[in-house]
Structure formats: structure tokens, C-alpha cells
């Protein structure tokens, strides 16, 4: 049957293509990973709705991406603002023999890889509003948000025509596009939607508390996230190198591993010194904080920088999470404290440690005495924050007055699993 394809000389790099497909699969498995990570921390009555907030993103954004999302983010630019290339609608005009740029991989492989990023980003936001956001509104929110906030931002930063890309802002695997945008949107949404009815941080030592119902789920989730993150970060070498599975990928893999390890260890130690109790959730939170922080920097920094970044990530995110308790807003699962702040740290750290800039010039980080890149990074981060905050205010505000952001008080009290989805996560089967 080979004859079928012989007409077209094989320009494919089979190794790079294998790595792209595998990386896409790895990013997909982060979604159940995230579902477990989040769901373990909520109460039994909300475990399914919390998992669904991740899973439904696979369904909804999975369709959105091949319909319009890919075009908006990676189509030919309309004035540097957004992609606009009608032949990409529904991937209608994408020949399945089309190659992606000069990277030796099919365009469809690139479409899929990027699609997974679009799926997981809005799902991160769910962590901030878990246990109270209305499910129907959530679906509409992630659809609109991905279309009007994520896709343009991805276009600005990652498309060769994007204005931030052209200025030289670095974002290897999505510190700004993914984590800053999700984290700051999470904060805004959490503030708009208000606290859970029984969230009383001031009384936390006096008895009114909400406890994670199953931390083994959260730990397994963290493990799957770490696993999948190698695809997320090392797969992002697709943007910078041929072959895709080459030096950049290996570097990104190494910094990812190192930063996560250092951050996990640091968070554990902070807790040990601070409370005398090194918690498993602390270890998992540190791992995730490290993974977030290294994301924008992964292919641009050296392993030892990644170790330092890991330490910083846990210190900064630990403080950010504590700040929540001081300010009293209810970011249920710390989507802002970990993704927003961790992503911001990573974006700036890329400017501090980077060993080459977008033009390929070496040693551009602050540690090498250069200040241009960190300025650019700050600009990129600020843009991401602005886009996230205003976009979410607008979309959230509109949805608030139309559909309502919040489930009913009874649904919140009884748990959305039963009241909204007609299911319970667990049944004891007494006598059956």
C-alpha cells in the first residue's frame, strides 16, 4: 500500500513526528491528572462536578479548537490581533499531507499539540471557583474565554506574526499564555463569584472547616501532571528547533524535572520549618508550582537555573497561598496562588536566566548582565495579566447578569453532584 504515498517524497521527520504525537497524548493525560488533583481536594458531594469541569473542557474545547480556535490562534494574522484564515475553519482546508513549517512534522500534529494546551488552560480556572460555580455557565464561560482571551493571546505570543512575538517576548511552553492567563482569570472569577457559603478562613482553627476528601487522588493527579508536563514543555521544542526531538527538547525536559524536584522539596521544607508538619499536599503543591514556573523558561535556561527557580517558585507560591488567607477571598484550590503567581514568576525568571533570546543571541538573561529581555518579559506578563483581567471581567460580568455565575444555595449546600448531575461519586452499597 506504500504506493499510495510514494508520489509525495517523504519529507517527514519520523522521530520528530513521533515525539509530537506522544507529547500531544501526554498533554491530554494532564486533563484527567488535573481532574484528580482538584477533585481530591473538594468534598465528596462535589467530586464529580469538579472532575467534570476538567473533562468537559476536553469535549467542548476539543471541538472549538478544530472549528475556530486553531484559526484564531495560528491562522494568518489580521493586523497582529488575531488569526483569520477561513480555510482553517473546521480544518476544512488543511490537507492532511500538509507539513508544519520546516519542522518535518504534519500540520495536523501541530494542530493537535496546540489544541491540548487550549483544553487544559481554561480547566485550570475551575480550581478557583470549585464547589459553587454553575455548571452550565462554566461551559459557556470556558468556550467564550478560550475564543476571546486564550486564542488572541496565543496569537500575540506564539504566532510568528504576533506583536509580542515580534518584539521578542519569550514564552517557551506557556507561562503567559497558559498560566498567567488562567491564574489571573481565576482570581477575577473567584472575586466575582464570592466565597463558598461555609468558607470561613478566620475561624479555621475554631472548627468550621472544609477538608479535602481524598488526598490520594490529589497525589495521583500530581503524578500524572508531572508525567504529562514532559510533553507540555519538551514538546514545545516544536517552536524552536529541527528536529523537534533534539537538544531543545532534552534541555526542556531536564529543566522541567529539575525545577519540579527542587520546588517539591522546598515547599516540604518550608512547611516543616514553619508548622512542624511536612504535608503530602505541600509536596504536591510544590511540584506543581515548580512545573508552572519552569514552563515559560524550559528551553531557554540551564539546569542549575531551573534548580534555583524551583526554590523560588515554592517560596513565592507558598507566600501567595498564605496571602489568600489574609485577604479572605476564596480561591478554592489556589489556581491564582499557584498558576497566576507561579506563571508570573516564571515569565520574569525567563528574563533573568535565559541563555539565548528569540533572535538566537546568547546569554541575554539578567544574570549575564543584560536587561532587555527581562523588560520584554515584564511587558509580556503585563499584557497577559491585562488581557486576563479585562477579558474575564467582561465575560464574567455578562454571564453573571444573563445566566448567573453561581449555582443555587441549595445546590451548593447539597453538592452539585446530586442536584445538578443526578449522581453521587460514591455509593456504599449497604446490603446490596
Amino acid at each position: 500500500m506504500l504506493a499510495l504515498f510514494a508520489a509525495e517524497p517523504p519529507k517527514i521527520d519520523s522521530g520528530g513526528t513521533a515525539w509530537m504525537l506522544m507529547s500531544s497524548a501526554l498533554v491530554l493525560v494532564m486533563v484527567p491528572g488535573l481532574a484528580l488533583f482538584y477533585a481530591g481536594m473538594v468534598r465528596r458531594k462535589n467530586v464529580l462536578t469538579t472532575m467534570m469541569q476538567s473533562f468537559v473542557a476536553m469535549a467542548v474545547i476539543g471541538v472549538q479548537w478544530v472549528t475556530v480556535g486553531y484559526m484564531l490562534a495560528f491562522g494568518q494574522t489580521a493586523g497582529g490581533i488575531v488569526g483569520w484564515e477561513p480555510r482553517l475553519l473546521g480544518l476544512w482546508g488543511v490537507d492532511w499531507h500538509a507539513m508544519y513549517g520546516d519542522k518535518g512534522i504534519p500540520e495536523l500534529a501541530f494542530v493537535m499539540f496546540q489544541g491540548k494546551f487550549a483544553i487544559i488552560t481554561p480547566a485550570l480556572i475551575a480550581g478557583a471557583v470549585a464547589e459553587r460555580m454553575k455548571f452550565s455557565t462554566y461551559i459557556v464561560f470556558i468556550l467564550v474565554w478560550t475564543t476571546f482571551v486564550y486564542c488572541p493571546l496565543a496569537h500575540w505570543v506564539w504566532s510568528p506574526d504576533g506583536w509580542l512575538f515580534k518584539m521578542g517576548v519569550l514564552d517557551f511552553a506557556g507561562g503567559t499564555v497558559v498560566h498567567i492567563s488562567a491564574g489571573f482569570s481565576a482570581l477575577v472569577l473567584a472575586l466575582m463569584i464570592g466565597k463558598r457559603r461555609d468558607y470561613l478562613p478566620g475561624l479555621a482553627t475554631e472548627g468550621f472547616v472544609i477538608l479535602p476528601h481524598n488526598l490520594t487522588m490529589t497525589l495521583l493527579g500530581a503524578g500524572l501532571l508531572w508525567f504529562g508536563w514532559f510533553g507540555f514543555n519538551a514538546g514545545s521544542a516544536v517552536a524552536v528547533e529541527f528536529p523537534v526531538s533534539g537538544f531543545s527538547a532534552a534541555l526542556a525536559f531536564t529543566t522541567t524535572q529539575t525545577c519540579a524536584a527542587a520546588a517539591g522539596f522546598t515547599w516540604l521544607m518550608i512547611e516543616w520549618v514553619h508548622n512542624g508538619k511536612p504535608t503530602s499536599l505541600g509536596l504536591a503543591s510544590g511540584i506543581v508550582a515548580g512545573l508552572v514556573a519552569v514552563t515559560p523558561a524550559a528551553g531557554h535556561i540551564q539546569p542549575w537555573s531551573a534548580a534555583i527557580l524551583g526554590v523560588l517558585a515554592s517560596v513565592v507560591c507558598f507566600l501567595a497561598v498564605r496571602a489568600k488567607n489574609r485577604f479572605g477571598y476564596d480561591d478554592t484550590l489556589d489556581a491564582f496562588g499557584v498558576h497566576g503567581i507561579g506563571g508570573l514568576l516564571g515569565a520574569l525568571a525567563t528574563g533573568i536566566f535565559c541563555i539565548y533570546n528569540i533572535a538566537g543571541e546568547a546569554n541575554q538573561g539578567l544574570v549575564f548582565g543584560q536587561t532587555t529581555q527581562i523588560g520584554l518579559q515584564a511587558l509580556g506578563a503585563a499584557t497577559g495579566i491585562g488581557m486576563a483581567v479585562f477579558g474575564t471581567l467582561l465575560i464574567g460580568g455578562l454571564l453573571n447578569v444573563t445566566m448567573g455565575l453561581r449555582c443555587s444555595p441549595e445546590e451548593e449546600r447539597d453538592g452539585q453532584d446530586l442536584s445538578v448531575h443526578g449522581e453521587r461519586g460514591y455509593h456504599q452499597d449497604i446490603g446490596s
Partner: protein, 116 residues
């Protein structure tokens, strides 16, 4: 006959069973029923940590023991439970003694004292 309901610390069940065996086991296995419950009382909740924040749940895990006894055995059983369950710190729990009018062994239909 009496029905005893006792609330104890989970980690004390082993000791309580050892003590009860001494006073109730007459060449037969003594009988008892246990269940997991949660208690609220003078004892402060156990401190737990959630993302750096110290929290104390309102309710503390306890075990509840249900024990049907003939009158003669009540004092002994109460003493045995106290001996096994006492740690001396707040939170050791309570023993409630209630009148029991009848007792039926399902397997045989026997009633009263000999069915206990």
C-alpha cells in the same frame, strides 16, 4: 439485661477488647458490635494542615461499641472498658448504660438472658 453504648478513642479498641475478653469470655467468644462515629465534646479537634493553614475539624473520629449484657456482667464490663479505653486526656469518651427489655438470638430464636 442492659445495653451498653460506649464511645471510645479508635486507637483504644484493641485494649478494650483485651480487657473485655478477660471478664466476658467464658470458653466462648464474648460478643460485641463496633462502628465508626464522630464526636464533639470538650476535646479540641486534631490539628490538620491544608496548604499551610492550620485547621481543626469540629468532629473527631471515635468508635462506638454496642454491647448487650446480663445484669451480673455490667459492672465488670464497665470497669473493663474504662481500663482499656482510659488515656487520661480529654476525649476518652463515655459509657451509657440502658435498660434492655428483651434480646433475641436470630439464629435460634432464643430469648432473654441466655440469648445475650
Amino acid at each position: 439485661m442492659k445495653l451498653i453504648i460506649a464511645i471510645i478513642r479508635p486507637e483504644r479498641l484493641e485494649a478494650v477488647q483485651t480487657e473485655l475478653r478477660k471478664v466476658l469470655d467464658e470458653n466462648d467468644n464474648y460478643r460485641l458490635t463496633v462502628q465508626a462515629v464522630e464526636g464533639h465534646g470538650a476535646q479540641q479537634g486534631e490539628v490538620q494542615y491544608f496548604r499551610g493553614q492550620a485547621i481543626r475539624p469540629r468532629l473527631i473520629p471515635k468508635l462506638q461499641i454496642t454491647l448487650g449484657l446480663n445484669d451480673d456482667y455490667v459492672t465488670r464490663a464497665v470497669d473493663a472498658i474504662c481500663a482499656g479505653a482510659r488515656s487520661g486526656s480529654v476525649g476518652d469518651g463515655k459509657i451509657f448504660v440502658m435498660p434492655l427489655e428483651d434480646c433475641i438470638r436470630i439464629r435460634t430464636g432464643e430469648r432473654g438472658g441466655k440469648a445475650i
